[in-house]
Symmetry: C2
Subunit: 151 residues, 2 copies
DNA sequence: ATCTAATCATTAGATATCTAACTTTGTCTT
DNA sequence: AAGACAAAGTTAGATATCTAATGATTAGAT
């Protein structure tokens, strides 16, 4: 048994490991759903961040979806090459690139949005809302506990 | 607001997104703890799998920690080069490579095990055990709901 | 007004992961 | 016993991510 070397008090695998495994399985399934709709998980997140705050700078966009600026640059390059979005310098501050979706980008967003909503519904089947609320609370607590690396 | 385009019934971000973000933050914090103890997250998982079932074949080991065989090969190459483990062919079935820890590998395992246990304790602070049990149940439900891609 | 700092983005190089193709070895069928 | 098929691992090539270094532009200080 994998966990016998690190078993927690109540014979459950460590919560972090359980979290990571579940997240991986769910993310892979979500990515498959996005591919079926013509995109990918990171493309969906990028579109979502751009739609949520058009004209935001790239650091803000990256922060919204939990990746680094350099990673976002990569996705934006690919998506710009695909014709999903455009970048142009802000005339007010020529350091920032303003990102905007093209028509094709808007269409892709709509397709992926429908697929994402369907996936979320499927993911929640059989789980009552009060359970989901408590689940979200524990997730928040885990984030809080993970953050302070030194104290 | 990032979620306004995909808001779920009760004004909460989609559960899958919440799960992924939390898992990423927690995994990064865990990796930092492993680095502080002289290893990395994947090295820890690899050691754990080998310790859990010595002489297992590599597919079994990979499956235990949720990665593909090809990915495990990569880690084993690096760890063998570091002198943490050895591979030799099983005389009974020369297709399989038997993996075993060296003394240095055992020592690394002990160090990382202590760090992993400490991390798990820190991660659980302030979360009562019944909450954790319900949390694990929801994780299991999410895994189940994610799996059936077509039906 | 110029020099220094900070900010935004990109580039470069590393790690971790996946899938698909390939090699070696073993099993099964006829 | 030969040939086809299956299994275990590795290799090759792709994607996603990170950190650190670099370039361009702006803001601030003296």
């Amino acid at each position: 048994m994998l966990y016998c070397q690190i078993m927690t008090p109540f014979d459950r695998p460590p919560v972090g490991m359980n979290l990571a495994r579940t997240s991986k399985v769910v993310a892979q399934a979500f990515d498959a759903a996005m591919v079926e709709a013509g995109g990918t998980l990171p493309v969906w997140l990028t579109l979502l961040s751009v739609k949520s705050k058009e004209l935001a700078n790239q650091r803000e966009l990256a922060g919204m979806i939990g990746i680094q600026g350099a990673t976002l640059t990569h996705h934006l390059n690919a998506m710009e090459a695909q014709g999903l979005l455009t970048r142009r310098r802000d005339p007010e501050n020529r350091r920032v690139h303003q990102v905007a979706l093209t028509e094709a980008g808007e269409a892709m967003f709509e397709r992926l949005r429908k697929a994402a909503l369907a996936f979320d519904k499927r993911l929640r089947t059989g789980i009552p809302d009060d359970k989901l609320a408590e689940f979200a609370e524990v997730l928040a607590a885990l984030r809080r506990n993970a953050e302070p690396p030194q104290s």
